[in-house]
């Protein structure tokens, strides 16, 4: 059985059908790249998986557990718990500007483990949890190369550094699947490299990832599987060699041609 199963996801905004039946599966440790032109529904699909949008139909099954079914009703609390299986790195970083880098990474784990805790924690326990969270955050920030920026504020960092903080912040919640929504689209070309490098490093740790991207070179070299989306459906699915080397669909061919034109 597949690790992640996405079945028949439909989503409409008003009269516009954005997703018209999305099905795909993913194995554990796999890196899936989703490519396609703007408006093809890639970002909406990612947002559905992170419960930022509610699909009108379809279901999402992770590791045998049904996370979402359009027929079901979910409380805020259930959604909160379910969405923690997924992490999301935004195109525009969305760091919390008033907090330091370290605080940005520690805030959510602290709120979850201390403020949302079922049992009453003693002061000593709270201090202990805080210490563990901070230690963990320092390690994650070191792994994305930001050990020397812990006490800086987001506005003092470059876009690439901010995006790496955002990745660290998502990692601190220990998501099962980490999603990226065009993580380099808001960056200057010379800064995309450092972010893509971090994502490549995450791949070596067998992290399951879904990456919506416009970086064709990156999708081709870093992904295990590639989905090409067009007009709300999956037009083409396969390994990078299949999708980039030997595309079957007309739409894929013309999209890839245009993307390559832009590069050269």
């Amino acid at each position: 059985m597949a690790f992640l199963e996405v079945n028949g996801i439909f989503k409409r905004f008003g009269k516009t059908e954005v997703l018209k039946g999305i099905d795909f599966t993913m194995d554990k440790g796999e890196v899936l790249a989703i490519i396609g032109s703007s408006g093809s529904g890639k970002t909406t699909l990612l947002r559905c998986m992170n419960f930022l949008e509610t699909p009108d139909a379809g279901r999402i099954v992770l590791n045998g557990e049904e996370l979402f079914n359009a027929d079901g009703k979910y409380s805020d609390r259930e959604i909160r718990e379910k969405r923690l299986h997924f992490g999301l790195v935004f195109q525009s970083f969305n760091l919390f500007p008033q907090y330091t880098v370290l605080r940005n990474v520690c805030l959510a784990p602290e709120l979850m483990k201390i403020n949302q805790s079922e049992k009453k924690l003693s002061r000593a326990e709270k201090t202990q949890i805080r210490k563990e969270i901070e230690e963990n955050a320092r390690q994650i920030l070191a792994s994305v190369g930001l050990s020397d920026k812990l006490m800086n504020y987001p506005c003092e960092l470059s876009g690439g550094q901010q995006q790496r903080v955002a990745i660290a912040r998502a990692l601190a919640m220990e998501p099962v699947i980490l999603c990226f929504d065009e993580p380099t689209s808001a960056l200057d070309p010379e800064l995309t490299g450092e972010v893509l490098k971090v994502i490549r490093e995450l791949k070596t740790t067998d992290r399951t990832m879904i990456i919506v991207t416009h970086e064709m070179g990156f999708a081709r070299s870093a992904a295990d599987k590639v989905i090409f989306m067009a007009d709300g459906i999956i037009e083409e699915y396969g390994t990078p060699e299949e999708v980039f080397g030997n595309p079957k669909s007309e739409k894929t061919v013309s999209f890839l041609e245009k993307s390559l034109e832009n590069i050269t």
Binding site: N50, F51, L52, D76, R80, E81, R83, L84, F86, G87, L88, F90, S92, N94, L95, F96, P97, Q98, L107, A108, L111, M112, N115, Q116, Y153, P154, C155, R169, A170, M173
Partner: protein, 215 residues
């Protein structure tokens, strides 16, 4: 009447002014937030009740509202003795809370959606997102317009004399009518200037403190 005597008498009036100012601020700041939540409510009837309320309060003179709070109960045959100062403070708190609520609303709506979404995907509850992520950013953004309102409040306190509360301007007027001295009325201006100057310095300091980050 000597300069010192005038100063002493005006100072008494100024104390009342300070009292109106301080209590109004302490009451209207939190009440404003409540009105904001009401007027941003997803439940349509609640939202409209609050919107209409804000419209009425902002659309009528504060002077009229003070008079209404003080004489209103008597007019509808409700026989209670309302303390003058209390009536003034009640009217001021309600009036300023409405103005504050609109500033708060503007501040809250100016926070990018991405901040809420970032909090959501990190598993925060709605109230955690508001109090831990959004609120501080709102405070930073609303300091300048709030400063404006607070300075206006200093001078609006003079409206209290319409129901004979002896605040700063009224105490000067009393001197004029009793002692036939006109200069104390202008002397009053110095009190207001000094106080609003002090507040301006404080507000600038707060603004500077909050400027440790951009965005």
């Amino acid at each position: 009447m000597s300069f010192l005597e005038v100063t002493a008498q005006l100072s008494k009036g100024f104390l009342t002014t300070l009292q109106i100012f301080g209590i109004t601020l302490a009451g209207a700041l939190p009440l404003g937030l409540l009105i904001t939540f009401g007027s941003m409510s997803k439940i349509k009837p609640i939202k409209w009740i609050f919107k209409v309320f804000v419209w009425i309060i902002r659309g009528t003179p504060l002077m009229l509202q003070i008079i209404l709070v003080f004489y209103g109960p008597g007019l509808i045959g409700w026989d209670i003795k309302i303390d003058r100062l209390l009536a003034v403070i009640v009217a001021f708190i309600i009036n300023y809370a409405c103005y504050f609520s609109e500033i708060y609303r503007g501040g809250i709506e100016s926070i990018p959606k991405g901040q809420y979404e970032a909090g959501q995907v990190l598993g925060m509850t709605k109230s955690q997102i508001f109090f831990k992520v959004v609120l501080f950013q709102v405070v930073k953004r609303i300091v300048p317009p709030m400063g404006n309102e607070i300075i206006t409040l200093v001078k609006d306190t003079s409206l209290a004399r319409v129901i004979s509360v002896i605040e700063l301007v009224k105490s000067a007027q009393d001197i004029i009518s009793q002692k036939s001295l006109i200069w104390p009325l202008f002397y009053v201006g110095a009190f207001y200037l000094l106080f609003s100057g002090l507040l301006t310095i404080l507000l600038n300091y707060a603004e500077k403190k909050l400027n440790y980050y951009q965005g």
